[in-house]
């Protein structure tokens, strides 16, 4: 007989009151406001937008505040909010070659048109705690220099001209929006890229690292990494006029991988691609490496049976909201399930004991 259990309402309400109080912390210390979070914890805000799959800085900052800085909880809040929004339409594909770059580097070519520009990076810092930040609000001002406002072409387009790298040409395949349609394996590359772009940074980092350590024979170079603002173009349905409806920050990574050639393709370089909201280069690089390792079939490479090559494994497990939902639900009451298991184990033991006595 199934007996439903009620109760706990008061406990839940009181738990949430305490949550509210503890979120606020010591009231003698000034409360964080949303603008402080969106201006000063920008990379947390970017991660929540990227994995929450919704570009809105204020909402992201709000989610971070509400979740006490637990970014996966914040991503969960963004995803939940996202589902309530009516979808007005779809943009034109963005042109990342027209990006207003804050940063643009290549690890494969030193001298490139548009040059290497470091931007605001942690690279080359000493990773020593800066106790000055503890003491006062002083900061250095960014330096400025005269510039040429020219478009910065993609580095890999130069290899393209020599035919040394596999070209990225539209295949004409139609792809489904994975937020609107159930996933059916095998996926198109576009569907994989959508999943990866909103996938968990930690999971993708681990998988990308596994490919570097030899679980998939892929030695990747960062052909190009760029961060900056891109104009999102959208056609106003009432007017048929395409406008720049939003300015969105992206990080894009193109990886270059050596390729010995196969029955299908002569020796050349191949690519992996990462594109994410915000300034998240660890994620963009990870995405590019994992994208590349999942392309083994397309290039006629050997399947080595490793995790990063297995699209079903990667895509089914890279979403941290799915993962945490399933993982965390096991802490919620399972009294009835467990009661059934308990009865079963008791019964088996009873029978075992009877048999023991007979012998």
């Amino acid at each position: 007989m199934y007996v439903s259990v009620k109760g706990g309402e008061k406990a839940i309400n009181n738990a949430h009151s305490w949550l509210s109080e503890i979120r606020r912390g010591d009231v003698n210390i000034a409360e964080l406001n949303i603008k402080q979070i969106s201006e000063q914890l920008t990379l947390s805000v970017d991660r929540v937008m990227s994995e929450g799959s919704l570009y809105d800085k204020d909402l992201s900052a709000l989610a971070i505040k509400q979740s006490r800085g637990d970014l996966i909880e914040a991503i969960f809040l963004m995803r939940a909010y996202r589902t309530t929004l009516p979808r007005i339409g779809s943009s034109k594909p963005i042109e990342t070659s027209k990006m207003l770059c804050l940063r643009r580097i290549s690890a494969t070519f030193k001298d490139i048109p548009g040059k290497q520009k470091l931007g605001p990076t942690f690279d080359y810092t000493h990773r020593l705690l800066n106790f000055k930040l503890l003491a006062d609000g002083e900061y250095e001002k960014a330096k400025i220099e005269k510039y040429d406002d020219k478009e910065i072409p993609h580095v890999l387009s130069f290899l393209n001209k020599e035919g040394l790298i596999q070209k990225e040409i539209p295949s004409g395949k139609t792809s489904k929006d994975i937020t609107r349609n159930p996933i059916n394996f095998p996926l198109t590359r576009s569907e994989r890229l959508q999943s990866l772009s909103r996938g968990d940074e930690g999971f993708l980092l681990g998988l990308a690292y596994s490919t570097q350590r030899g679980y998939a024979r892929n030695h990747a170079f960062v052909g190009e990494l760029r961060t900056g603002y891109v104009e999102v173009q959208f056609e106003i349905p009432e007017l048929g006029i395409e406008i720049n409806i939003a300015d969105v920050m992206f990080t894009e990574c193109e990886s270059v991988n050596q390729f010995k050639g196969s029955k299908k393709i002569p020796a050349q370089f191949t690519r992996g691609y990462g594109l994410v909201f915000g300034q998240l280069e660890r994620k963009a690089i990870s995405m590019a490496l994992v994208d590349r390792s999942m392309r083994w079939k397309e290039f006629g490479e050997e399947y080595l049976g490793v995790a990063a090559q297995d699209e079903e494994f990667v895509i089914s497990h890279c979403d941290n909201i799915q993962a945490t939902g399933f993982l965390e639900h096991i802490k919620l009451p399972h009294y009835v399930d467990f009661q059934a298991e308990l009865d079963l184990v008791r019964k088996i033991r009873e029978e075992y004991n009877k048999n023991e006595q007979r012998i």
């Binding site: 937008m49 919704l54 570009y55 809105d56 204020d58 909402l59 929004l85 009516p86 979808r87 007005i88 339409g89 779809s90 943009s91 594909p93 963005i94 990342t96 070659s97 207003l100 804050l102 643009r104 040059k115 520009k117 470091l118 330096k143 400025i144 220099e145 005269k146 510039y147 993609h154 070209k167 990225e168 539209p170 295949s171 395949k173 792809s175 929006d177 937020t179 198109t188 590359r189 576009s190 890229l193 959508q194 772009s197 104009e231 999102v232 959208f234 106003i236 009432e238 007017l239 006029i241 406008i243 720049n244 409806i245 939003a246 300015d247 969105v248 193109e254 690519r271 691609y273 909201f277």
Partner: protein, 147 residues
């Protein structure tokens, strides 16, 4: 209709800093009669990328958008499609779009659109000049064995 210029003003209105646009509009102190065709609603659009920057399209994620439409009279309609979730910003954009089609065009252009263009150009210049300052100038050291 002058689609190119309408495209331009709609773009600057859509991507304007909301506080800046609101202050510009409020300073004008205009009282405009209008009727709603669609009251401001918050939604999203899916942003598409291209695999490898030139290949197949794919969905990257959504961006929040607010839109509304109104008319000043039977003939003149304004549409306010803007980035973000600010309904007042959307309404201002729709009113500006409508007024840009009337004899008030010059007032709106001078006091709002031109200022938005300037604001955005300044932002752009700021980024470009800071980025330029982080440009790497490589130099090669002459090594002993080359002599």
């Amino acid at each position: 209709m002058q689609n190119e210029s309408r495209k331009q003003w709609l773009s600057y209105l859509a991507t304007a800093d909301e506080n800046y646009l609101i202050s510009l509009w409020d300073n004008l102190n205009m009282k405009i009669e209008y009727n709603w065709l669609r009251e401001p609603e918050i939604g999203s659009i899916m942003v598409q990328g291209k695999a490898g920057a030139t290949g197949d399209n794919f969905n990257v994620g959504e961006v929040t958008i607010t839109r509304c439409s109104l008319n000043l009279d039977k003939k003149i309609q304004g549409h306010g499609y803007v980035q973000g979730r600010n309904k007042y910003k959307s309404k201002i954009a729709a009113l500006c779009d409508a007024l840009m089609q009337t004899e008030k065009k010059e007032i709106i252009k001078r006091n709002i659109i031109d200022k938005l263009i300037k604001y955005k150009n300044n932002k752009r210049n700021e980024i470009l000049s800071k980025t330029e300052a982080t440009k790497v100038d490589f130099f090669t050291l002459v090594r002993g064995e080359d002599k």
